[in-house]
């Protein structure tokens, strides 16, 4: 009797492990850098959230890995007049709960995004109103002609949400109830441990390969690397240099790298002496060896920036020649500006270790041309407040051109209407640059816009309110069993095409 029981038990166990084996083969486990916050897209704008929400929600327009715009929930779009866009919505799409998707949800989502305001509300700053013309057509009326609006609609925080579900769940929407139209359906969220998504068999975009995707927040980058090597996870996002080198040398995993939309720069307070003299700013551009910073601090995870925006961003000027490293020329320029004996100043940074190292290199390089620099590490909140108020001399900051369009990467940072908190913390003013940036917002064709941006970047480089430092590269650890993983420059990688060999 006991014997047969034991046998039954063993058979059951074997069967269970067989079943577990086949399910495991279709489950993709992904390690993220931090916990997601909430899947109510209007209440957060953080990377881990968008890395997951990108799989659950669809945007009207999709920006692919090549940063080209593709149809999403909108199949096509055309301008009605200078300030109105018509978007034609996809037919036959259903929400994860079975309800049909209509224009009413789009209007509701965009209006909620504007009125709440959502944390990334800047995306729709140009929008005056959204109206449903019929069940599958909407009109987007703008306050002024604004060419990059289509890119803005592709941002992950503008995923379209289901009005009835959001209102029905109230404050619990985004944690226990999450309803989208995307390739994966929200299954469960174990706080701080994992978020589980299941395949949406009815997705309009075609076949979704993984049956289940499990997202695990693993805050330590070296541990994400170890987990990829041991097979504990299939994909580990954004490895630090040390972990990336280990994965590179591993026998069962490899790296997938992608150039991101993030840049870092040293800025000057262009309204404050001595940095109000362009020659001083140019001199410092010549005095700092940017290649040294790229090689020693970023060890393979960045390349030298040649313009204020990543070369992948639409509108980046590909023909700019970087300032040469030339301390002699720097001393000449300083002498011309009346600072032959140098001067004393400060450089601010937040406690980001790489930025602190950049500040230290700058300090050493500038001592070489007679400028005495004091490095000050400032707490982030204070840093933002005081650089917005113009209390700084030199500072180090970064910018992510999330929209993949030069407007977002240049307007806020160099237009004279944006001084201080809106983004132009160098207090840089050049009327011609203002004109060019304004014109590029309105220009009808991409070619015209490109020309305007090219000229603006030439002027910005000459005036040198920044030292262009780096464009970062992200390295993701991927198990060799995985295929179809194509990292996205904006960081929210699409996973419906990923599969795993047995």
């Amino acid at each position: 009797m006991e014997d047969t029981l034991l046998k039954k038990y063993l058979i059951a166990l074997a069967a269970a492990s067989l079943v577990a084996g086949t399910v495991a083969a279709q489950t993709i486990t992904v390690a993220l850098g931090a916990d997601p916050v909430t899947f109510d897209l209007h209440n957060t704008n953080d990377q881990p959230t968008s890395q997951i929400s990108r799989q659950i929600y669809d945007t009207l327009i999709v920006q692919g890995e090549d940063l080209e715009l593709e149809p999403g929930l909108a199949v096509s779009w055309e301008p009605v007049d200078e300030t109105t866009w018509q978007l034609n919505l996809r037919d036959g799409v259903t929400w994860h709960n079975g309800d049909p998707f209509t224009a009413a949800d789009v209007v509701w989502t965009l209006e909620r995004f504007i009125n709440l305001p959502a944390q990334s509300a800047f995306l729709l700053d140009a929008v005056e109103s959204v109206t449903a013309v019929d069940d599958h057509t909407i009109h987007l009326a703008l306050e002024f002609p604004f060419a990059p609006i289509l890119n803005h609609l592709a941002h992950s925080s503008l995923g379209i949400m289901h009005q009835a579900s959001v209102e029905g769940a109230g404050d619990d929407y985004g944690t226990t109830v999450v309803v989208g139209t995307g390739p994966f359906v929200f299954d469960s969220w174990q706080t701080a441990d994992r978020v589980v998504l299941q395949r949406n068999d009815d997705w309009w975009g075609g076949d979704v390969l993984p049956e289940t995707v499990v997202f695990r927040p693993i805050p330590d980058g070296n541990v994400r690397g170890i987990e990829v090597e041991t097979g504990g996870v299939d994909i580990g996002y954004t490895l630090p240099p040390s972990a990336a080198r280990n994965v590179e040398g591993s026998s069962n995993a490899h790296l997938e790298s992608v150039r991101t939309l993030s840049t870092a720069y040293i800025g000057f307070n262009a309204e404050k002496a001595p940095f109000d003299d362009a020659r001083v700013r140019q001199a410092i551009n010549h005095a700092i060896d940017v290649d040294l910073i790229v090689e020693t601090i970023y060890t393979g995870q960045a390349e030298r920036a040649v313009s204020p925006i990543s070369s992948d961003v639409f509108g980046a000027n590909p023909d700019l020649e970087p300032y040469t490293y030339d301390p002699e020329r720097a001393r000449e320029l300083l002498a011309e500006a009346g600072y032959a004996d140098g001067f004393s100043t400060t450089i601010w940074t937040n406690d980001n270790p790489q930025r602190v190292e950049i500040a230290q290199i700058a300090q050493a390089e500038l001592a070489n041309v007679g400028i005495d620099v004091q490095v000050e590490v400032v707490e982030w909140g204070t840093y933002l407040d005081e650089t917005a108020a113009g209390l700084h001399d030199m500072f180090i900051l970064g910018w992510v051109t999330v929209t993949g369009d030069a407007d977002y990467g240049l307007y806020a940072l160099f237009h004279s209407s944006q001084h201080g908190a809106p983004g132009n913390r160098t207090f840089y003013t050049n009327e011609r640059v203002d004109e060019l940036l304004d014109a590029a917002r309105v220009a009808a064709t991409p070619e015209e816009r490109q020309e305007l941006y090219n000229e603006a970047q030439v002027l910005i480089q000459e005036d040198a309110p920044w030292i262009f430092l780096i464009v970062t590269t992200e390295e993701h650890g991927v198990s060799d069993a995985i295929s179809g993983f194509n990292p996205h420059p904006a960081g929210h990688h699409r996973l419906y095409n990923v599969s795993k060999a047995d």
């Binding site: 305001p117 509300a121 944690t175 706080t191 541990v223 504990g232 909140g381 806020a412 809106p422």
Partner: protein
Amino acid sequence: MLQFILKRVVMIIPVMLGVSVIVFGIMELTPGDPVLLMLGERAPIEQQQQLRERLGLDQPAPVRFVRWISGVVQLDLGRSIRSNRPVLDEIKARMGPTMELALIATLFAVVIGIPIGVISATSPNSLADHFFTFVSFLGLAMPVFWQALMMMLLFSLHWDLLPASGRGSSWQYYVLPAVTLGTSALASITRMTRSTLVEALGQDYVRTARSKGLARRRVVYQHALRNAMIPVVTVIGLQFGGLLAGAVITETIFAWPGIGRYAIDSIRTKDFPAVQGVILVFALAYAIVNLLVDVLYGFLDPRLRVRYG
């Protein structure tokens, strides 16, 4: 005894009140604006103002304090301003994994630490004693993150014996984080057991017990160790309380869904209700552990039982 326990329970109330005032005050005084951290560096002033109003942060501090504390006494810790989730739910979800880990780590430290302490104390200055002394100082001196990574490299990557991180359904997931977390407690308990037991073994009553013919074993375990336990229990209690609140690094490295990580994330984003709630819970846990330690004293030391009888 009951009166003693009741008195100690009542004492927790003013402590918690003090803690809540201090926590609220610290959050008010530290720089950084949660709204700016949420909206990003270029949000227009109107948007910042709208969000501030929505979160109730436009009210003066005393108003917010009264509002918060009146929620707290009704066991409502408010909602996180970052995730909009009820803070109490978040804490409950994470308290379990933290408690599990702290209990296992403490158990590990006690079960191994006390016998090692006894061995060292009963043969002081022997080779074994020197070895254990060396190892326990090593345990105290090793940085937690380093130990964690080394163990992961050896047991997960090199030997493929244990999972590297996470909290899965099998016991294997508990081994590395619990050992990492328990190591310094183990070292402290070993040291404390050794020194108090050495002292106890030199007392007159031990000599008396031995001279009336009791076995050495019996004298060590039943007479001396029992008397030596009081400071050891204090250390265990302190260590356990510390493990509840101080598991931040271990939880972060092992991606353990505990409360320490929540505390750090909340502090970093200036999530006022979450930070206040977590600190309050930490303080409460500490107070309860201390209470339990005091009660344990009563069992270990009959004199206390008589005094508070």
